[in-house]
Subunit: 501 residues, 2 copies
Amino acid sequence: MEHNFAHFREMLGEVIDLQLAAAVLEWDQQTYMPEAGAQPRAMQLGTLMRLAHARFVHDDFGAALEQAKTSAAQMDPDSDEAGIVRNVQREFQRQRRIPSDWVAEDARTTSLARQAWEKARAESDFAHFRPHLQKVIELRRQYAGFFAPYDHVYDPLLDVYEPGMKTAQVRTVFGTLRPQQVELVRQIAERGLPVDASMLHRKYAVQKQWDIGVEIITDFGYDFKAGRQDKTAHPFTTTFGVGDVRITTRHDPDYLPSGLFSTLHEAGHALYAQGIGPTLDRTPLLAGASYAVHESQSRMWENLVGRSRPFWNHYYPRLQKLFPRALGDVDVESFYRAINKVERSLIRVEADEATYNLHIMLRFEIEIALLDRSLEVKDLPQAWNQKMQEYLGLTPPDDAQGVLQDIHWSSGYVGYFPTYALGNLIALQLWEKIRSEIPDLERQIERGEFGELLSWLRQNIHRHGGKFEPADLVRRVTGSAITSEPYLRYLRSKYGEIYKL
Amino acid sequence: MEHNFAHFREMLGEVIDLQLAAAVLEWDQQTYMPEAGAQPRAMQLGTLMRLAHARFVHDDFGAALEQAKTSAAQMDPDSDEAGIVRNVQREFQRQRRIPSDWVAEDARTTSLARQAWEKARAESDFAHFRPHLQKVIELRRQYAGFFAPYDHVYDPLLDVYEPGMKTAQVRTVFGTLRPQQVELVRQIAERGLPVDASMLHRKYAVQKQWDIGVEIITDFGYDFKAGRQDKTAHPFTTTFGVGDVRITTRHDPDYLPSGLFSTLHEAGHALYAQGIGPTLDRTPLLAGASYAVHESQSRMWENLVGRSRPFWNHYYPRLQKLFPRALGDVDVESFYRAINKVERSLIRVEADEATYNLHIMLRFEIEIALLDRSLEVKDLPQAWNQKMQEYLGLTPPDDAQGVLQDIHWSSGYVGYFPTYALGNLIALQLWEKIRSEIPDLERQIERGEFGELLSWLRQNIHRHGGKFEPADLVRRVTGSAITSEPYLRYLRSKYGEIYKL
């Protein structure tokens, strides 16, 4: 019995080793790899992903999984063993439908597409990226085909990131959310209360930005002995195993929030990954419960902590001292209002909380249109710009600030964007629970103390990794399904106060 | 026929992809990986190496190789195809004797041993490294056992790095070399001509050292678009495919030659790797003809170019300008003599050319003693110090400057050291040939022009990669077997002039 499980764990461990090795190669590609390394790297990633997949869906592994299921059936459903078997079983059923050749072709395609995207974005040259994106989308259509019949062509893609979630559910949630967010943004605009955010566009030396970021996330509890931070074009967090969880960041010397908040955001992901129980190493449970649950963590540390008044009551004197020329004449209240200024803007990762989800809904609709062929890749920049006008009343001056701004599609991440908005909702569901259980949370944050918050998250969310499906996990912790009410309450309260609505 | 070969190349390519992926993971481990990443990294490397090995020695690959041999038999023996088949056939016969489990255990062991060595070296704590080294040596003994019967237990290990070379041959070459090098060093000491090298121990800002190194190796022809340089504890060069050949370096702010010459040395390796024909990508021929041939390249750029008078006639004004406080009062001739000062010293990588091979012979004898059990790992520091006294008249003040100075054993590289000395010999055999074919080579170097030298090396050595066995390659190019005469001529001439013997 125990032997059965050990055998299953070892076979699984090898598959995960290959996936984590691929993660190292991808991290390197986005941080340090020289230009001419793209072609061999694509081959290597193709081979690693194809082998990992082939071993995972092999009948031998299926047999080991069956035996492990027998063992796990007699265990506590909350045990590691039961959780691993549940997660792997779900993933096994999914992966069995995907041919290994598709996996290899996809890995090669996205490895090259990422490289092309970087160049295209730097030069605002959509044409350079277009053939790569066409191939990525074509592969996504093929992917959906492996899961036919489906309710919606987008369902199989969404399921990669949000196990169990359906397109129809997302539409329902977004249907509730959208009019209320639009209404809030309208009220704010109508109120016409001016917020000066010009100080955020002053000169901020990159090294100092780096230093304050490191200081803050160390205070959060991010362990640099089990991780590191590097520079990249598009910040991300990646796990190479318990003990090696890395974040990446970028800084803009002319705009403080860009680097600062992306650092806090990625640290939120990393705290989750560093908090996953070591007994779950070499299993897919390292990836966490879902992308939305991951986003609930990153958005919590970025926004609920990092854009809050108590947080800046603590850190602002330090920030001011670091940037006396930029912030010497700015008091903490003005700074707080500036970083929470509601403004229709072009760049998702720099959007305020009130408009953020609109950026997501735009992408969600475009992805669906690309998949159901109502939109062709060649017409994408135009469609993007039209929707930006419709949703946010803006037209990007170039594609770098429009359709090329995000790395996701180049990496094959179609179906991923909705998880950001869902993550926002889950973050607030958790936050209401946390505030009820840690009544003096605000005072702790005001003292720069995050230990109790992190412990709560470790205990309730992090340590479980992917042991529970996201909806189950949210229900276990909050007693509720995923819902937008806490999030809308938060937005109305926060912005009602700032904008005196 | 062509199909046979394509199938063989694809199967081979997958194996190489796995090996190159492992090389990325090892590079990361030695440059950026956080401390706590060691354990999962060891598992990943174990899996990658075991899978690469298992696929390579699989009967299916054997069958593909047989078919490729049939195709290659009808081709020009100098063709890529024939060269690939020769190289792979040799490697296949070797690898078939090694169990995959040994490969995985070795990869895990050395991954952890490297990490332990770094700490042990930093803290000069041999005891911390000892159990790891014991395991590494035990695995080496097992490895030799797979190749029994052999003439000498060291033969199978030597063969990993120097295909076709025997321990007895190395002993013969070293037997000729040693008395003559010892005699030269004795004459120099007896001559008693003082050489002042104190200026090399002044303050040299690390960033400026980095900059001048980059400038020089760019002049050499190292392509930063197809490579990069990073910092590490023990400099090395690594290949992730044609298009991604990286070097690593370290700098000592209190001793200029350490960083400077190791940069030139690694660049020599990297120029070789960058010059390998792109048609040899995804084959083991990327690794070059042998370690000794690789060392012939690195030692050539480091010493024959980088420690020569014409070289410094060109670069010294630049160096002086960069370090006015350290070198303002030093003329080029004094600098030239300082960097070529013959001195019995503790650290191999910083040894001058006249004493360098003595460091190698010491290691060669210790490795043999460890393998034939006449020396136990626990007695190693003592044995090291005794031999240092015997060969160089010195006793290391601590193990960091003694037995812990080199990374090799921690990485499982036993049998590697002799290739450094053999590389020195080959370098001079090539150099005599080059000087006869490029009569104004010195004047070109004096102008900072390396293009013709590099072209010659590309044409005669680099582009072939591992197409020919090292002894064949040396004979093709120089018409001679590997011999110490050119090297001894060079030493006598260079140091005879400097020390007025």
